[in-house]
């Protein structure tokens, strides 16, 4: 990996006016250019069709074993996972993201990596999809609202990307930002929301470098549907779902702990760490149990919540000596 990254030149998306490139998708569709979804992954180039939620990916199957990359628990059906989401940029209802996230343009897309890195730069969607070998990870997803799912993600470890940009010795945290495009995100136009946009999240550098921390470009074998955070999102399986920030446009390495959206909105309810922890209740509700979805009216599927969402063996050492009641 090291040494393969070269500073990109000026991409076309930087010299094309935004209003024009945001219409590119429509233009391509009108031209009938996306006749058949090609296979991205190793072979992807700028010419491969990228369709969120539709394009098949090439990836290695989830490795079984003690690393936590795989679970044999029943997968949440794709349809259920794609119709029940929290993505407040598109509304606070669970079905709002599925209904409105298609309004977001995800191609072209690029991520800026800056802050405490030796080689700040920009990565384009095509580069991301072609540069990193993709693998599947089957993770439990535990929402702070006490429901959970089991989802097969496709992506690559965040550590692979960070290593290329070479964090400096001052880098101690990683800050992430979601796209903020008011015209395409109706939830951000609400006058009564207490969340401040763009959505921000953050990790400690050692959490970010942990092998379980994944940058996902797909799930269920295909590119991410927009409501899951296309084209690229974070997945941190031992933390509450809102830490796994969606549709990332910027990654900044910092010396100080970065501000995070839910923590800014309700500091008593949402801490910086937000590790899944059945012993620390949310001030308004219990975190001891969760509803594994899909549930049915006749079988509620209520199960006990596990410490670090069941990844205790893999991540507990990150928090050795810390009072997790204080650092919730």
């Amino acid at each position: 990996m090291p040494g393969r990254f070269k500073v990109p030149g000026i991409p076309s998306s930087e010299i094309t006016p935004e209003s024009v490139y945001l219409r590119r998708r429509q233009f391509i569709q009108a031209a009938g250019a996306i006749a058949a979804p090609g296979v991205l992954g190793l072979s992807a180039g700028a010419s491969a069709a990228y369709v969120p939620g539709e394009t098949a990916l090439e990836y290695a199957p989830a490795a079984k074993g003690p690393l936590g990359y795989y679970t044999d628990e029943a997968l949440t059906p794709r349809r259920d996972a794609a119709s029940y989401n929290n993505f407040y940029e598109f509304g606070t209802g669970k079905t709002d993201p599925a209904a409105y996230a298609h309004e977001m343009t995800v191609d072209p897309w690029s991520i800026e990596v800056d802050g405490e890195v030796a080689k700040p730069g920009k990565l384009h969607l095509e580069d991301i999809l072609s540069r990193y070998p993709l693998e599947e990870r089957i993770y439990r997803l535990r929402c702070v609202e006490a429901w959970s799912m089991v989802i097969p993600w496709v992506g690559f470890p965040l550590s692979a990307l960070l290593a290329e940009f070479q964090p400096t010795s001052k880098a101690r945290y990683v800050a992430f930002r979601t796209l903020y495009r008011k015209g395409e995100m109706r939830g951000t136009r609400s006058f009564t929301s207490s969340l401040d946009w763009p959505y921000r999240e953050g990790l400690r550098l050692d959490e970010a470098m942990h092998p379980l921390t994944l940058l996902a470009v797909g799930n269920y074998g295909k590119t991410l549907p927009n409501q899951h955070g296309a084209p690229l999102r974070l997945v941190v399986p031992w933390k509450y779902g809102y830490k796994s920030i969606k549709s990332i446009v910027r990654i900044t390495l910092t010396e100080k702990q970065p501000a995070t959206s839910w923590n800014m909105s309700q500091p008593r309810e949402y801490g910086f760490y937000s590790n899944v922890n059945p012993n620390v209740d949310h001030p308004r509700w219990s975190q001891k149990h969760e509803r594994r979805l899909p549930g049915s009216l006749f079988k509620p599927n209520r199960i006990e919540t596990l410490m670090f969402n069941g990844y205790e063996e893999q991540v507990a050492s990150l928090y050795a000596g810390m009072d997790l009641k204080k650092h919730y």
Partner: protein, 192 residues
């Protein structure tokens, strides 16, 4: 028209329940049907409560009498949806386990507030018949003022659950404030 009013409103008021019932069997309530049922029935209970309380201001302002004929039924529908709401919570979130129920009540204060609203509505539903109205006389009106704190508790129950966007809670709160405010002003004027 006169004869059809009550049955028509009765049928319309049952529609949300019928829709949920249909969804439950046809699988149209999404991956978390328990939550859908609980949210929907809770919202309908609050809506019917507001409708019930809108009846007498509407009668006074418009001079029409027909809304009064619907008040009892609307109030009972509010109680009906509150009962389904509470029963769904007990069934789907606690499995009728008393220990679990007490744990939820202790750990989630907004549930206690909602349960209290239901408790206040219970005697109103029981005394809603003509016979009870006659038997209680003047006390019937006094007793039925419990609907005001019940409405306030229901609004608190909703607002307390807001995660980031208080728009919906605000809309219900404004309607509740208008209906309660109207009574306060009307009461003051009649005392003067």
């Amino acid at each position: 028209m006169n004869k059809l009013l009550k049955p028509a409103v009765f049928a319309a008021s049952l529609m949300p329940f019928a829709w949920l019932l249909y969804g439950a069997f046809a699988g149209g309530l999404g991956p978390d049907p328990a939550k859908t049922v609980i949210l929907q029935t809770g919202e309908w209970a609050l809506r019917f409560l507001l409708l019930t309380l809108a009846v007498s201001p509407l009668r006074r302002i418009s001079g029409w009498y027909w809304p009064m004929r619907l008040r009892r039924m609307l109030g009972l529908f509010a109680f009906f949806y509150a009962c389904v709401h509470l029963a769904s919570f007990c069934q789907f979130y606690t499995g009728w386990d008393a220990g679990r129920l007490l744990e939820e009540l202790a750990e989630r204060p907004y549930i206690t507030v909602g349960a209290l609203a239901w408790v206040l509505l219970l005697p109103l539903a029981i005394t809603s018949t003509h016979a009870m109205q006659r038997r209680l006389g003047r006390n019937w009106r006094r007793l039925h003022r419990l609907v005001y704190p019940a409405l306030l508790l229901a609004c608190v129950h909703l607002a307390w659950q807001v995660r980031s966007d208080y728009g919906e809670a605000l809309v219900y709160g404004v309607f509740a404030a208008l209906l309660l405010g109207y009574r306060w002003f009307a009461g003051r004027r009649s005392r003067q």
